[in-house]
């Protein structure tokens, strides 16, 4: 119900926009994220962009997980 789908904004006309993810294109509204721009990745819920996805935070989290993974492998004698 509170599902949020990450999509990239490809067209913007006022608060109307089109966003896409893999092959799906959807009309969305930007009323809740007015400074969003074409090219931004945003989280879509019920047809509205509710937040921008922060690339730096995303990559930091992934790097952290990779470090855990590598540490795990070093500890593993097999």
């Amino acid at each position: 119900m509170c599902l949020g789908i990450p999509m990239r904004i490809v067209v913007r006309d006022g608060n109307d926009a089109v966003a896409e993810s893999s092959s799906v294109r959807k009309r969305i509204r930007l009323d809740l994220l007015e400074d969003a721009a074409v090219g931004d990745y945003v989280l879509i819920h019920a047809g509205y962009a509710i937040e921008r996805i922060d690339e730096r935070e995303a990559l930091e989290t992934l790097d952290l997980i990779r470090r855990v993974y590598e540490a795990g492998r070093r500890d593993d004698p097999t």
């Binding site: 119900m1 009323d31 509710i50 935070e57 990779r66």
Partner: protein, 367 residues
């Protein structure tokens, strides 16, 4: 241009294995009960079999996190009655269609000739009203903060005169307070719902830190997000530390949430007490239309009235106790027999995010 890894880097099996190993390795010397309050979390947890990865003695239970499941029968009764009126279109989200009301469901009403439409977005419901000015369009608005924000934005964008709303919107923080104040069963930590948190931010849970000192963590929905959240929470509990609201979903959740979304909600709605299906009335946990938007309230303006006494809990259904974390779905005598996703008996088996539904769908993986 964003690195694609930031969007699709979450599904690597190596990452899941790494975080799962770290979680399983946390040593806790007493039984610990964690609760999440989000249907999307339940779905992801059941699907990925995350409960099997927890250290011994750690339980992860599902709270009242499915907005469709906590929507009282009375609200659906009103929607059904509205849909049977001449010249009326009743629009709602797909998940609401099969939820059992006191008698029947919106789906049954549609089969009986009522004009009930499924919409994906509140703005679709407004489009229906624009396209058909001769008819009354009533949008049954169900959801938590995540959904209240788009609904508020749609309402504030000047809908036509023939558009009305049945507001059945609920708030997460007052429900957490209610769960803690009940004092039955201990909750050692909360996994907080990622997308409600996008709207209200980490600061929306400050009271957990200052008043209750319950460790909690905002987590996302990929298996690695959930495991990472559990890792932070369990590490804190194992160390005997209390009281922090941690944010492990920083790529979309900020300290104060989305201010535009919060403003939209505040402009259109006022908080007040609200009934949660089978659970009871929780103070300040519901949203009703305020100020100039009161006119859109279908119940007041159109005089919707329920013809029958509402029945929230059908005899035998344990849904309300499942949503309070008092029993597991499997403990309900009807689970998987009388009650299945094809023949749902209680609301928790209907919505794809209902706890019973998620457990049933993934029961082999969980087993």
């Amino acid at each position: 241009m964003m690195e694609p890894r930031a969007i699709d880097g979450w599904s690597s099996p190596a990452a899941v294995a790494a975080i799962a190993g770290a979680v399983a390795g946390i040593r806790i010397d007493r039984p610990v009960t964690l609760m999440h309050v989000c249907g999307t979390h339940e779905h992801a947890i059941a699907r990925a079999g995350i409960r099997a990865l927890l250290p011994a003695g750690v339980r992860l239970i599902a709270g009242p996190g499915c907005p469709v499941c906590v929507c009282p029968a009375r609200d659906i009764d009103l929607a059904i009655e509205a849909s049977e009126r001449e010249g009326t279109i009743l629009a709602t989200f797909g998940d609401m269609m099969r939820v059992p009301a006191t008698a029947g469901s919106l789906e049954r009403a549609r089969a009986g000739g009522a004009d009930v439409r499924v919409v994906y977005s509140p703005s679709d419901a407004i489009d229906l009203a624009r396209e058909d000015p001769g008819r009354t369009v009533i949008f049954m608005a169900v959801g938590f903060e995540t959904t209240a924000a788009p609904i508020a934005a749609a309402i504030a964008a000047d809908p036509p005169e023939n558009f009305f709303v049945i507001a059945s919107l609920r708030l997460i923080p007052p429900a957490l307070r209610f769960l803690l104040d009940r004092g039955t069963g201990t909750i050692d930590g909360f996994v907080l719902p990622g997308h409600a948190s996008v709207v209200i931010g980490r600061s929306g849970y400050r009271f957990l830190e200052t008043e209750y000192r319950v460790p909690s963590v905002i987590a996302g929905f990929e298996p690695v997000d959930i495991l990472q959240g559990l890792h932070a929470l369990l590490t804190r509990i194992a160390a005997g530390e209390r009281g922090a609201v941690m944010n492990e979903y920083r790529r979309v959740v900020h300290e104060n949430g989305n201010p535009k979304a919060r403003e939209a909600i505040d402009r259109c709605f006022a908080p007040g007490e609200s009934a949660w299906r089978g659970i009871g009335v929780i103070p300040d946990s519901g949203l009703s239309l305020r100020g100039p938007y009161v006119r859109l309230d279908a119940v007041r303006t159109l005089g919707l009235e329920s013809r029958r006494e509402a029945v929230d809990v059908q005899p035998g259904c344990q849904c309300h106790r499942v949503m309070l974390g008092e029993v597991e779905p499997e403990e309900c005598a009807l689970f998987g027999g009388v009650c299945t996703p094809r023949t749902p008996f209680g609301p928790c088996m209907v919505s794809s995010e209902g706890t019973c539904r998620a457990r049933f769908a993934y029961r082999r993986i969980e087993g």
